[in-house]
């Protein structure tokens, strides 16, 4: 983990150079909570699918990577870990998206 030190968390204080403080974790959780609230809010507001679905996807991706970056420490840890995870993620996305395309999933809605 010698590679870790290069990316300190920004507002670190004191003993822990390479990891954020508990306060930072709580802040991250609050942000996640707010985004979740926004997501749920879309359920109560009428809007066309062309707006709604990209919006939901955007918020989902944000939450996904925010958790991975902060709680799973990918932000601070070796890029090697990110590579493994992202490889699986990208491969799964491409392969299954292709499969859904062959099923004509996107047309049938």
């Amino acid at each position: 983990m010698s590679t870790v030190i290069e990316a300190p968390a920004g507002e670190h204080e004191g003993e822990h150079d390479d990891h954020p403080t508990d306060r930072k974790y709580v802040e991250v959780a609050i942000v996640l909570g707010i985004v979740t609230a926004l997501e749920v809010a879309t359920y109560f507001v009428e809007m066309p699918g062309a707006v709604l679905i990209p919006m939901l996807m955007l918020m989902m991706v944000f939450k996904f990577f925010y958790v991975a970056a902060w709680f799973m420490h990918l932000r601070f840890d070796s890029p090697m870990f990110t590579k493994f995870f992202v490889t699986g993620l990208v491969l799964a996305t491409i392969v299954y998206a292709t499969m859904l395309t062959v099923f004509e999933f996107w047309h049938k809605g």
Partner: protein
């Protein structure tokens, strides 16, 4: 991470990374394909509800939102447990481990409640391709959460026996990785399965 563990983990390995952590990340990469398959199956079948209820008829978004929020917050408590142990704060480590396990159990309880409600409303496991796919996907996720709870409780027992010390914080970190992964899978499921408008009868 505290300096002692920075020395004791991953020292002498080719990449300088701990074997155990690398193993967990490799495994999580693999899990993406597992959940991808289940999610795709669900997406293909979500509008094939035969004569049974459609997803849009029975999903209870406010209820699921609450349980999703519970699981999201369990990620916070998990990371606080790790952070406590890295400081050598055994007591808070135990508190947060227990809280995480309890939040996870709450989520599972919510899932059991949801499943039984759906059953009562006429959505059995064999009702339609949609129902099979829905129960299988969320069931698999539930089993992952349950295994996570078992791991958390094992850590807690280990801590009470005095073997879960600052030097072994990597174990908590690895269980944490698994736990957060299960959480991000639910982030995906919650949006794609629940929030994106589903077909109705």
């Amino acid at each position: 991470m505290a300096d002692t563990s920075a020395v004791s983990h991953g020292h002498g390995t080719g990449t300088g990374l701990s074997n155990n952590k690398l193993l967990m990340w490799v495994f999580l990469g693999s899990e993406c394909l597992l959940f991808g398959g289940l999610i795709s199956t669900y997406l293909i079948y979500r509008s094939r509800f035969a004569d049974g209820p459609a997803p849009g008829d029975i999903f209870d978004i406010p209820f699921t939102s609450v349980s999703s929020f519970v699981l999201l917050m369990s990620s916070l408590t998990m990371v606080l447990a790790l952070s406590a142990l890295q400081r050598g704060d055994i007591r808070n480590n135990r508190v947060w481990l227990l809280t995480t396990a309890m939040l996870g159990s709450l989520f599972i309880g919510g899932q059991v409640y949801e499943f039984t409600t759906f059953m009562r409303e006429g959505l059995g496991y064999s009702t339609s391709p949609f129902s099979s796919a829905f129960f299988t996907l969320t069931g698999f996720h539930g089993v992952h959460v349950s295994l996570g709870i078992v791991m958390l409780m094992s850590l807690l027992v280990s801590s009470l026996r005095g073997t879960l010390t600052k030097e072994r914080s990597e174990t908590v970190e690895i269980v944490g990785l698994y736990w957060h992964f299960v959480d991000v899978v639910w982030i995906f499921i919650f949006t794609v399965i629940y929030l994106v408008p589903s077909p109705t009868t």
